[in-house]
Symmetry: C2
Subunit: 160 residues, 2 copies
C-alpha cells in the first residue's frame, strides 16, 4: 500500500481516492469513487455506463467490486487509527442480489459498535484480527439491490 495516509489523516477522503486509484487500477477503470468516510461508515459510487450488463442494469461483478472496495476502505481507515503498519485483506464474502440495479451504483458499509477494541485481543492470540462487515448496495435512492457480508483480515506488521 502506498503511504499517502498517516495515522492523523486516516479518514481523508481525497487521500483514499488517490490511493485506491493508484494502487488498484480496476477502481479507476470502473469509475469507482469514495464519497464518504467516517469511523462508522464508508460510501462509494460508480457510473452505470462503465458497469452495465446486457440487461441494461448494474453488472454483478461491478456491484460486488464496489462493495468490497467500500468495506476494505472503511476497515483500512480504522486500522490506520490504531497502527500505521496494518495490512487489510478480504478473507471471504457473500453477496445476495435482490433486484436489478437501475442507475449509478452506490455502496454503503456501516459498522455497529466499536470493533477495533477486539482487534487488540485478537492480535495477541492470532496473527490477524478478523472483522465482518455488512455492505448495502443499490442506487442513490434505495440501497436494496444487493446485500453483502464480507470478512476482512487485519494483519499487524510488527516493527523490528
Amino acid at each position: 500500500m502506498s503511504d499517502h495516509l498517516s495515522q492523523h489523516s486516516a479518514f481523508n477522503l481525497a487521500a483514499w481516492n488517490q490511493l485506491i486509484h493508484q494502487d488498484i487500477p480496476a477502481t479507476l477503470m470502473l469509475g469507482i469513487r469514495l464519497t464518504q468516510l467516517t469511523p462508522h461508515c464508508a460510501a462509494a459510487w460508480a457510473p452505470l455506463a462503465q458497469n452495465i450488463n446486457g440487461h441494461g442494469t448494474g453488472f454483478a461483478g461491478s456491484i460486488y467490486t464496489l462493495g468490497v472496495v467500500t468495506g476494505w476502505t472503511l476497515i483500512s481507515a480504522l486500522a490506520k487509527t490504531i497502527s500505521s503498519n496494518c495490512q487489510v485483506v478480504a478473507g471471504e464474502a457473500h453477496i445476495h442480489y435482490r433486484q436489478p440495479l437501475s442507475g449509478n451504483l452506490v455502496a454503503r458499509a456501516e459498522l455497529n459498535g466499536a470493533p477495533c477494541a477486539s482487534w487488540h485481543s485478537q492480535w495477541q492470540s492470532y496473527r490477524a484480527a478478523k472483522q465482518p462487515l455488512t455492505i448495502m448496495l443499490g442506487t442513490q435512492d434505495s440501497l436494496t439491490a444487493a446485500e453483502m457480508t464480507a470478512t476482512f483480515y487485519i494483519k499487524k506488521e510488527e516493527l523490528n
Copy 2:
C-alpha cells in the same frame, strides 16, 4: 443480451467473447477473456496488470468478477442449448480467498452431472430455474487462490 448466439453455436468461444465485451464493458476494461467453453466447463483469463492490488497480487474485486463472468457464461451457453429465450442472472455468491494470487488470473467453472434436466421441472413449478456452480480461481499453474460458489437464475421467457 445481444443475439450473436443461436442454439446451434451455443459453445462458440469467439462469439461469447464478443458478446461479453460488447454487453459488459467492465469485462473489456479488465482484460477478461474466455479461454474454454464446453457443456461441462468454462474457463477465463485476465492479466494481473489491470487487476492488481496494493500488495502486488490479484485484486479481490477482479478475482470475483472473473469468476462470476466464467460461471455466467457456462450457464448461459447451456441455457442456449435448451431455449433461445433464456435470461441468466446471478442470484447469490460466496467467495473464499485462500491465498494471494500472484500472476495472471485464471478461473474455471465446472458442472457435475446434467443440471439442465432439472431446469424443465423447475420452470414448470417456478418462474425461474436455479443452478449452483463451483468456480476455482488462481493462476495457470494452480487454481487454489480462491473458491466461489455461485447460484444463477435461468429465466425462460415465454413467447407470445
